[in-house]
């Protein structure tokens, strides 16, 4: 009896899964070709540079471009500020849950640092390493929240084409107006979001279509209280901007070398890179080491950026192809990647810091 019951349950689960899968395919990009697409979101406009949400006029000649990654950065700073305020407020000998988590993280890195260097140096390196870990982790995990990349302001088609033209000019590419895929949004205001099934609202401007037809489309779009344009998200995962990752890498490497100079002394640390004592080979090796320090900044920058940006694109693509279920395994993957990247960045900083504060003579031991 129980076996049969279990089997019917199993069958039910299989049927539901298959149904969900079929609905997902029909609602996604594939179904869209055959009149479906009631669930999918359009493949978002993917660009490497962060989108400018608003321009703030500072002086007459200069306007500061506030990008969505900067907003996300401040959001993660705010989240961390709140969490640490909670921890500080209720700190006690008998830890609460939040304090336990904070202590686990701090102790993990403290033990790691103490196993690599002396305890005094570990205390010195800890704040930077922890800040990198917490910031990268928080912004990576915030970046996969719903709302990131799907809520934003609507940029009109004319502006979008204008921006795309500028970008193509800088890149030296030829610009096609048909490359700009706009979406039709409900409502009049500048606030927009990508609703379920918005994949059907993508407006194609084919090269084949005549100007007459294009005009007709435009009229059709505007007449019913709708507007055509591109979505500029308010939030975009902070580490999908090279400025963010480069900023962290620069701060990390500057501090690492500051420690190198302050702990070893100016001459001793500098002699690792400009070395006249060990002959021409030593001098060449020193120059190579100097170059590798810069290579570290670049690898820091692009490793984090590449991983998180790829994850973002993957999630967009999954929401486009297999809405509803396709995104689920990749959300888990992104959580994992976000943690791993945060660990890699912080632990590598720790390793570089402990290497930089060991004098050249000691390295051979």
């Amino acid at each position: 009896m129980s076996v049969v019951f279990r089997n019917t349950k199993l069958i039910l689960v299989i049927i539901i899964s298959i149904t969900v899968f079929i609905i997902s395919i029909l609602g996604g990009a594939l179904g869209n070709q055959f009149g479906g697409g009631f669930l999918g979101a359009p493949l978002a406009h993917i660009q490497i540079s962060a989108e400018t949400v608003t321009k703030i006029k500072i002086t007459d000649g200069y306007k500061y471009a506030l990008t969505n990654t900067v907003i996300a950065t401040w959001l993660s700073i705010f989240v961390l500020l709140l969490l640490s305020l909670f921890v500080k407020k209720s700190i006690s000998d008998v830890p609460g849950r939040l304090q336990s988590i904070a202590e686990i993280i701090v102790e993990f890195f403290l033990n790691l640092a103490e196993s690599m260097t002396s305890p005094e140096k570990a205390r010195k390196f800890l704040p930077l390493v922890l800040t990198i870990f917490l910031f990268v982790l928080t912004s990576n995990w915030l970046g996969i929240l719903p709302g990131f990349g799907t809520i934003g302001k609507i940029e009109s088609r004319e502006d979008a084409i204008h921006h795309a033209q500028d970008l193509a000019e800088i890149q030296g590419k030829k610009f096609h107006e048909s490359d700009v895929h706009t979406i039709i949004f409900d409502g009049e205001g500048s606030f927009g979001l990508l609703p379920i099934g918005s994949i059907r609202n993508v407006k194609d401007h084919d090269d084949h279509s005549s100007d007459h037809k294009s005009d007709e489309h435009k009229h059709k779009a505007v007449e019913k209280g709708k507007q055509e344009g591109l979505l500029i998200p308010y939030f975009r995962s902070a580490n999908t901007d090279l400025n963010t990752t480069l900023a962290i890498a620069i701060v990390a490497m500057v501090l690492v070398h500051f420690w190198g100079f302050s702990i070893l002394g100016f001459g001793s640390h500098l002699s690792k890179f400009i070395n006249f004592k060990s002959g021409p080979v030593g001098f060449f090796v020193g120059i190579l080491e100097g170059i590798s320090e810069f290579a570290r900044i670049i690898s820091f920058t692009f490793r984090l950026f590449g991983n998180i940006f790829a994850g973002e694109v993957l999630l967009f693509a999954m929401a486009f192809l297999l809405p509803l279920i396709g995104i689920i395994p990749f959300l888990g993957l992104e959580l994992f990647v976000g943690l791993i990247q945060a660990l890699i960045f912080s632990v590598l900083t720790l390793v570089f810091a402990s290497m930089a504060t060991v004098s050249h003579g000691d390295e051979g031991h």
Binding site: V70, T73, S84, A102, D241, N243, L246, I250
Partner: protein, 164 residues
């Protein structure tokens, strides 16, 4: 920077992010690391103190147990000594009393004897005194008759013997 623009790199964004990161660093340093590390240090110091205190208490207990044992032993010895002393004192007291009683008795006895002796001597003297008179009387009686030397001595002897 213009060659890097397609990558989204620009000076204003970079400076913003560096400043943001430094602000975050400061915030976390003041609000998270310092309190948490202080707390961890305090706690480990506290645990160390408590362990030390427990160890010390253990040692104290052992020490006081030892001292209790010592004082117990001491008390036992003292008691034994006291009993011995008391016994000795009792024996001595008894001996003293006994010898005292003996000497008392002896002196009493001697006294009594000397008294007796004295009484006896006195009695003898009395008798002697009385005897002289008697002798004179007896002599007078004998003289009335014929008294030679020989009978004289005989009389005295006889009288003396009788009187004693």
């Amino acid at each position: 920077m213009s060659a890097l623009t397609p990558l989204g790199l620009n000076l204003s964004g970079l400076i913003t992010q560096i400043i943001s990161f430094i602000i975050l660093f400061t915030i976390l340093y003041k609000l998270l690391y310092q309190p948490v590390i202080n707390m961890l240090d305090q706690r480990s110091a506290k645990i160390k103190d408590n362990l030390d205190a427990a160890e010390k208490a253990k040692q104290d207990i052992a020490k006081s147990e030892e001292s209790i044992q010592d004082s117990l032993e001491e008390a036992k010895n003292e008691r034994r000594q006291m009993i011995v002393d008391a016994k000795e004192a009792a024996a001595k007291f008894r001996e003293d009393e006994m010898s005292k009683a003996k000497t008392d008795i002896e002196t009493e006895w001697l006294k009594a004897r000397s008294e007796i002796q004295r009484e006896k001597n006195a009695a003898i003297d009395e008798v002697r005194k009385n005897f002289a008179g008697l002798v004179i009387t007896a002599a007078e009686k004998v003289i009335d008759k014929s008294l030679d030397d020989k009978s004289h001595d005989e009389v005295i002897e006889k009288v003396l013997k009788k009187s004693l």
